[in-house]
Structures are given as structure tokens and as C-alpha cells.
């Protein structure tokens, strides 16, 4: 059922990979495609570091006693897992890799609006990442990735300021990426590429960029205030001076809630492209999906205090935020229904990218539905700060965002590398990831409702929880294997994979109208767009006009 057609290329054409060789041609590149690869290597590195911390956490939780690591070490492990995964993997992931590579190509441009700022963006990420690595290696942080005050300002002895600076710098990387995308999408679309003809991947990245631009500065200033408080003993959040610890929480979550939409929207964009291609039809409800992306971005800014229902906010405040949280759930639900409806009367192929998309559909739906539990005030009181929340956000971020990311990597790998990955191994990896993921995180919903709090390294007072923890840890090892496999076979394919044609999937989109890998300036001639998005009817038109497709 696989669709890809391999056409061996007799002569290696000049493309963005081979037009220039050498260390500096990469480190000083302004080509958005090379920068995307620089990011790919960097975020993969941090993904495995964050994943390593996760493995240690799960190992500790195999037994009720805190016997693998000391309490302080465990506290640093979950903190660093969170900070690395959120700020150095999930936030950049799709936008900085697939987004950087594809946004100009999908709209018919030669590059992003500001290529040098794009390179600066990567360097900022690297500097932030290096600083974070140094921080971790020289003691780390133990406040949780949420670094609530006054613990983080007045009580902990760990390296808050250094970690804060690292995240601040990485945040600017994120802001500049968003800035580049917004300006590019507004100003550099090819002739004929109207807003309604844009791939939904672009709409998703546009919405994501709005959030990056407007949200990230708020966490930046929050970090400045916390760092200033620690370094200069200011007292803005210190209750003994009359400061309000809740003010910190409001400022923190004002960014960190929209941040989760930064992490999921691009993945939704990827899944949209994959479902359309492997169902061979246009997306059902294009405008609804496009506007849902924007709606998620807008409403996402209005719900932050649903992280604070038991923090000491007023009942009336809680009512408002609960209501708005249901409002923000609606556009996501609409997207799920539209994706499902796209499958109807499609012609579905089960290649690896589509398997990841199916996985996304199921897991994101479950994760999103558990969000309804959390938005319900009466339930949230019981399950907040427990493993229920941990399970919820991992379903969305790992079951959702990472699945989408992997699906996208597989889908566009031929374009990026000019090679085909091994389909059999890819299907196997998708299955392993799906099974490992559910085994890891489903038991955590049960643990949470039963009362297991978060951030506990020792649960010897509740040994009855051990069974579920053991299942979860077992799942995490399977999941780890599932993640290692693609890294291995992608690398393998760069050397030994079958060469890919321009459009191995016969997919819609401007990026498929140029060679694999593309030339440095993307297109030999500037495209002029005269067709609608997802024109699969034209792409699948019969080769011989006499053939009449059989009706159902």
C-alpha cells in the first residue's frame, strides 16, 4: 500500500546540501534549510538529554522507597527534565526544524524574510542551551520547571539565575523565529498564493508565531524579576515584604499556558498535511480548520489561571477561567472532527507518516478530553498537582506533539535529505512508540485520581501505588526504544537509503514541485499559483483521459 516511487537520479544535481561544503558553510549559512538542519541536530540532542532524565525518574519510581537517588537529586531530575523538554525541545521542535525548512517553500519564497536573524535565532538557542547544560552539570535547579516563588527566590540554593538566563536567551530565539514567520507569511507569498490557498501547515505556524511573539516576552520579564530578586534581594514576590507569590504565578502562567499551544499547533499543522495526502483528498472544512488555529491562539491567552484553581484565587475568578477553558477546548474538538471527516470517502494509504497521524488522532483526543476533567472546577481540586495532570499533558505533548513531529519528519524526510527511509522499520517504530506511550502514561491517570501527588520521589507511605508505577516504567523503556529507532534509520538512510524523487508521495504543496533535496533558492523559477490547496483531484487525475474512475 505504500505510495512512494523511487526514481534513481543518474546525475547528482546541485542542491542545498552539496552546493557548498565545509564547517563554516554550515555555521555561517543563511539558508533556511541548512538552519533547519542545524536546529534538528540540536533539538535532538536536547531531546535525548531530557529523555535520559525521564528514564532516571521512572527508574526511581519503580520502588516506593527513594532508593535510587537522593531527594535533592530527584528534585533536580524532574526540574531539568521539564525545563529541557519544554524550552529546549518542544517549543522549538516543529517550528525551528520543519517550519524553518518548509514555510518559505510552501509559500513559494526563496527564503525567510530575515535569513540572518534566522541564523541569529539558532545561535541564541545554542548559547541558551550551552548555558543550561553548564547549569545542569554544575549543580542544576530543583524548583520544578514552574519555579514558584517564594521557594525559587528565597529558599532554594540552586542555580536559578543561570537557568533563568539560559531560558531567557532561548526565549529570544523563539521570539525571532515567530517574527520571521509572521513577516514572511504576510509579505513573501508567491503570486497567486492567497490566504485561502495556503496549506494549513502555514496557518498553524502563523497562529503559533503570534503566540510566540506575544507570550514569550512575558516569561522573559518574569525571569528578569525572579533573577533580580535573587541576585539583588529585591522582594517583589516576598510575602515578608508585602510581596505576592500569586503575582508570580499569574505572570508565569500568562506565558506558560499559551506555550502549550506553541507546542501543539505546529503538530496539528503537520497532521493536517499528512491526513490530506494519505487520504488523497482536500481537508474537510478548510476554513474552519484555519480559523480554529487562530481561535486556539487567541483563546489560549485567556485561560492561564486554570493552573491556579487551588492556588488561592477567588471563586469568581475561578469560574471565569473555567468557562474560558471550555471555550478553548472547542476549536481543538472541531479540528479533530474535521480530520476524521477528511478520512471519509478518501483513498487511504498506511504509510508510516499516516500511522503517526492516526496515533496523534487517538492520543490527542484522549489527552484533550482529559483536559475537560481538569477544566471542571470540582474535579480539578482533587486531581491538580497529581499524576492525573502529568498524564494529561504528556498525552498532548508526547502523544500529540511528538507523534506529529515524528510523522512530519517521516513525511518530509525525502524532501529534506533526498533519500527514502526504510518503510518497514518506520512502521515498526510507530507501533512501538504507540504501545510504549500508552503503557507509560495511561496508568498515570489512575495514579492521579487515586491521589498520587506529583514530584514525589518516595511513595513508601502509599505502597499500593507500586503496580501502576511499574507498568509506567516498563512502558517508558519501550517508548525509549521507539524513539531511538528513527534516529538510527534516518541516519542510515542518509548514506544507504534509496534516492527519492521530487514528489515520492505525489503530495500537494509547492515544496513538492521542486527537487529532493531542493536547490539553495528553492525553486528554479518563481512559482505562480493558480490552484487551490490540496488539489488531490488534479494530482490523482488518471494518466489516460479514457480511464473513468469506478464509482463507489
Amino acid at each position: 500500500m505504500s505510495m512512494e516511487i523511487a526514481i534513481p537520479q543518474p546525475v547528482e544535481r546541485e542542491n542545498y546540501l552539496n552546493n557548498e561544503y565545509g564547517f563554516w558553510s554550515w555555521l555561517l549559512t543563511t539558508d533556511h534549510k541548512r538552519i533547519a538542519l542545524l536546529y534538528l541536530v540540536s533539538i535532538t540532542f536536547f531531546f535525548f538529554i531530557g529523555g535520559f532524565f525521564a528514564l532516571l525518574i521512572r527508574l526511581e519510581l519503580l520502588t516506593p522507597a527513594g532508593d535510587l537517588v537522593q531527594a535533592d537529586t530527584y528534585n533536580k531530575l524532574f526540574t531539568m527534565h521539564g525545563m529541557v523538554m519544554v524550552f529546549f525541545f518542544l517549543i522549538p521542535s516543529i517550528p525551528a526544524t520543519l517550519g524553518n525548512f518548509l514555510v518559505p517553500m510552501m509559500i513559494g519564497a526563496k527564503d525567510l524574510a530575515f535569513p540572518r536573524i534566522n541564523l541569529l535565532s539558532w545561535y541564541l538557542y545554542i548559547i541558551g542551551g550551552a548555558l543550561m547544560l553548564h547549569c545542569m552539570l554544575t549543580g542544576g535547579v530543583d524548583t520544578g520547571w514552574t519555579f514558584y516563588t517564594p521557594f525559587s527566590t528565597n529558599f532554594t540554593n540552586t542555580k536559578i539565575v543561570e537557568a533563568g538566563i539560559a531560558i531567557f536567551i532561548a526565549g529570544f530565539s523563539s521570539i525571532l523565529t515567530g517574527l520571521n514567520f509572521v513577516v514572511t507569511i504576510h509579505r513573501m507569498r508567491a503570486p497567486g498564493m492567497t490566504w485561502s490557498r495556503l496549506p494549513l501547515f502555514i496557518w498553524a505556524h502563523y497562529a503559533t508565531s503570534i503566540i510566540q511573539l506575544l507570550g514569550t516576552p512575558v516569561i522573559a520579564i518574569t525571569i528578569v524579576l525572579v533573577a533580580a530578586e535573587r541576585a539583588l534581594h529585591l522582594g517583589i514576590f516576598d510575602p515578608k515584604l508585602g510581596g505576592d507569590p500569586l503575582l508570580f504565578q499569574h505572570l508565569f502562567w500568562f506565558y506558560s499556558h499559551p506555550a502549550v499551544y506553541i507546542m501543539i499547533l505546529p503538530s496539528m499543522g503537520v497532521v493536517t498535511e499528512i491526513i490530506a495526502c494519505f487520504s488523497r483528498k482536500r481537508i474537510f472544512g478548510y476554513h474552519f480548520v484555519a480559523f480554529s488555529s487562530i481561535a486556539i491562539a487567541v483563546f489560549g491567552f485567556l485561560v492561564w489561571a486554570h493552573h491556579m484553581f487551588v492556588a488561592g484565587i477567588s471563586v469568581y475568578s475561578a469560574l471565569v477561567f473555567s468557562f474560558l477553558s471550555y471555550a478553548v477546548a472547542l476549536p481543538s474538538a472541531i479540528k479533530v472532527f474535521n480530520w476524521t471527516a477528511t478520512l471519509y470517502k478518501g483513498s487511504i494509504h498506511y504509510d508510516a507518516p499516516m500511522l503517526y497521524a492516526f496515533g496523534f488522532l487517538g492520543l490527542f483526543t484522549i489527552g484533550g478530553l482529559t483536559g475537560l476533567f481538569l477544566a471542571a472546577l470540582g474535579i480539578d481540586v482533587h486531581v491538580t498537582d497529581t499524576y492525573f495532570v502529568v498524564a494529561h499533558f504528556h498525552y498532548i505533548m508526547v502523544g500529540g506533539a511528538v507523534m506529529g513531529y515524528l510523522g512530519g519528519m517521516h513525511f518530509w524526510w525525502p524532501k529534506i535529505s533526498g533519500k527514502l527511509y526504510p518503510e518497514g522499520w518506520a512502521k515498526l517504530a510507530a507501533l512501538i512508540v504507540f504501545i510504549g506511550f500508552n503503557l507509560t502514561f495511561f496508568p498515570q491517570f489512575l495514579l492521579g485520581y487515586m491521589g498520587m501527588p506529583r514530584r514525589y520521589y518516595d511513595y513508601s507511605h502509599m505502597p499500593e501505588f507500586q503496580v501502576l508505577h511499574v507498568l509506567s516504567t516498563a512502558g517508558s523503556t519501550v517508548l525509549g526504544v521507539g524513539y531511538l529507532l528513527p534516529m538510527v534509520y534516518f541516519l542510515w538512510s542518509m548514506r544507504y537509503g534509496r534516492p527519492a524523487s521530487d514528489n515520492p508521495w505525489n503530495a500537494a504543496g509547492l515544496e513538492w514541485k521542486t527537487s529532493s533535496p531542493p536547490p539553495t533558492f528553492n525553486f528554479d523559477k518563481e512559482p505562480v499559483v493558480t490552484w487551490e490547496a490540496y488539489n488531490y483531484d488534479e494530482l490523482d487525475a488518471p494518466v489516460h483521459p479514457q480511464e473513468v474512475p469506478v464509482g463507489r
Binding site: M1, A71, P239, G243, F284, F337, A376, L377, G451
Partner: protein, 324 residues
């Protein structure tokens, strides 16, 4: 009220289970039925406004039902009965200090009799903690610098887990304890054996020791307001605002008198920040409550825009037989 939380939970399980099942079923069925077959092409369907509206409105209605139900449960959890018994909780890294109104003190254990409404008045000496009793389905963050409140009503004797649910440092996992629910006779026996005089009596001593009675006289007009009967009643402040004299108001006035100056009195009350411990503050609050005939019912009013917001996130009547 644990059963109320569980009822909503089961409703959510059913509803979301159905939605998830529906989506998964459709995906599986479509993926199988419409898999690629040679010669058969996909049908290009733009969309359907009717369908979009349907699957927007129906979920929204369901969401609103869940929202309202959740809000009702939450509101009940935040409205302790007027005559609930007060228990003061002081959280510190990494233990829970419990002070009963009758004077019993406990560490990491909370003894309560079956069938009584218990209101926990909680504060932290250092960082943010969270008082979580899973069996009762209640949780409330405990903050430094102010009181937060939760309440419950245990219906079954037993011993139930108490966890700290807000990360607070090295021994966060060790900040666990028990809520011991006893039948009335056993509780009385425990209370008698552990009593050291009611909290309000200790408070009266502190009131005298710190010199409060010099200005806050109950026999004649003094330099400060007469505190007899003041607890729970509205107070008019200098700037015209009217606030309720609840626990947070009393606490804040002692620590920061400038913010809550009562109309008609000179601003001469000194601050006791640093001169009075959290335990002594609890005793003073208990004392001032004891010399009032009324007890507060309403959720606290806002004092200032931020820090000293008085909360009554009180809690439920848990069904004590809940599974932990």
C-alpha cells in the same frame, strides 16, 4: 462531598469515553473502509457548514453542562458552614503543625470526630505548600503571608492519607501524614488526653503580653477599636471601603496596620511583623473570634487588590469511605 466529586467524575468518564470511542471508531472504520483500492479515487468534499455547526454546538452544550456542574461542586467546597469547628494549620518545610481550637497540638496528624464540620485555617511559615486529602477529594494551597481555608465533613471513621501537593523542596515527598477520623467517644477521649487549654485562652495571654489591651479596651473607648463582637462583622476603613473582619483581616492588621486603618481612629497601631509567630497569630485570631458572638459566613472580601485577599476555599463533606 467526595461522592459529589466522584459523581461528576463518572459523568465525565462516560461522556468523554463516548466521545473518544466515537472518534476512534470512526477513524478505524474509515481507515478500513476507505483504504486505497486501485482504480477507486477519493471524493473531494469541501466541507459542510451544517456538520460544522452541529459538531460545534453539541460539544459546547455538553461542555457547559460539565462547567456548571463543576462550578456547583466547587462553590459548595468553598462554602464552609457557619458553625464549623476551626482547626489551625501551620505548614512549614517539611511538616504540618495542627492546632485545634480546644488547644490540642499535633504534628502531621489531624484527629477529627465523625460527622463534624471542620474548617481548616491554614498558613505557611515559608514556601507554598498544599493540604491534600485524596479520600475527601479536597486540596488547597497553603500560602505564606495569609490564610487560606478548606473545610470537610468526615462521614466514616478511618485513617486517611494527608499529602503535601505543592512542591516545596527537598522533603516534599516526606511531608505526608494522616487524617484520623474517630467516632465521638474515642475523639473525646483523645481530646481530653491531649488538651492544653483552648487556643483562645493562649490568645488572650498573647493579647495581654503584647500590650494589645492597652489600646483595644473592652470597657471604655480606647485609642483602638473595641474588639468585642468585631469578628465577622463589616468594618469601614479610612478610605471608605467596607470589608469583613475575617481571619485574614485580623492577621493583616496585626502585621500591617497601615493598610486596614479603621475609620475614625488615628494611625498609631504599631506593626508586629517579626514580633509575633504564626502560632501566636493563630492564637490571637482564635481569641478575637471567641469574644465575638457572630461567626463569619460569607467568603472573605478583598482587602487590597492582591496579597491579603481573604479566601474561604472551604471544603466538602467527604464520604469517608472513599477509596484512597
Amino acid at each position: 462531598m467526595a461522592h459529589r466529586v466522584d459523581a461528576l467524575y463518572i459523568f465525565l468518564l462516560v461522556v468523554t469515553g463516548m466521545m473518544a470511542f466515537l472518534v476512534c471508531l470512526l477513524v478505524v472504520v474509515f481507515a478500513a473502509k476507505f483504504r486505497h483500492r486501485p482504480g477507486i479515487r477519493a471524493e473531494q468534499i469541501e466541507g459542510s457548514n451544517a456538520l460544522e455547526i452541529t459538531w460545534s454546538v453539541i460539544p459546547f452544550v455538553i461542555f457547559m453542562a460539565i462547567f456548571v456542574w463543576g462550578a456547583v461542586v466547587y462553590f459548595k467546597e468553598h462554602t464552609p458552614p457557619a458553625d464549623a469547628t476551626d482547626v489551625y494549620v501551620v505548614a512549614k518545610q517539611w511538616m504540618w503543625k495542627i492546632e485545634h481550637a480546644e488547644g490540642q497540638r499535633e504534628i502531621n496528624e489531624l484527629h477529627v470526630p465523625v460527622g463534624r464540620d471542620i474548617r481548616l485555617i491554614m498558613t505557611s511559615q515559608d514556601v507554598i505548600h498544599s493540604f491534600y486529602i485524596p479520600a475527601f477529594r479536597i486540596k488547597q494551597d497553603v500560602l505564606p503571608g495569609r490564610y487560606t481555608v478548606e473545610w470537610f465533613h468526615a462521614t466514616e471513621p478511618g485513617v486517611y492519607h494527608l499529602f503535601c501537593a505543592e512542591y516545596c523542596g527537598t522533603q516534599h515527598s516526606g511531608m505526608v501524614g494522616s487524617v484520623v477520623v474517630e467516632n465521638p467517644a474515642d475523639y473525646e477521649a483523645w481530646a481530653k488526653a491531649n488538651s492544653s487549654g483552648p487556643l483562645s485562652a493562649s490568645g488572650e495571654k498573647v493579647f495581654a503580653e503584647l500590650g494589645c489591651s492597652a489600646c483595644h479596651r473592652s470597657d471604655a473607648p480606647g485609642r483602638g477599636p473595641n474588639l468585642q463582637g468585631v469578628f465577622g462583622k463589616p468594618v469601614q476603613l479610612e478610605d471608605g471601603r467596607i470589608v469583613t473582619a475575617d481571619e485574614n483581616y485580623i492577621r493583616q492588621t496585626i502585621l500591617d496596620p497601615g493598610l486596614t486603618r479603621v475609620k475614625g481612629f488615628q494611625p498609631i497601631m504599631p506593626t508586629f511583623q517579626g514580633l509575633v509567630t504564626d502560632d501566636q497569630l493563630n492564637e490571637l485570631v482564635a481569641y478575637i473570634k471567641s469574644i465575638s458572638t457572630n461567626r463569619p459566613v460569607t467568603p472573605g472580601d478583598k482587602i487590597g487588590a492582591n496579597a491579603a485577599v481573604s479566601q474561604v476555599p472551604g471544603k466538602s463533606q467527604p464520604n469517608g469511605s472513599q477509596v484512597q
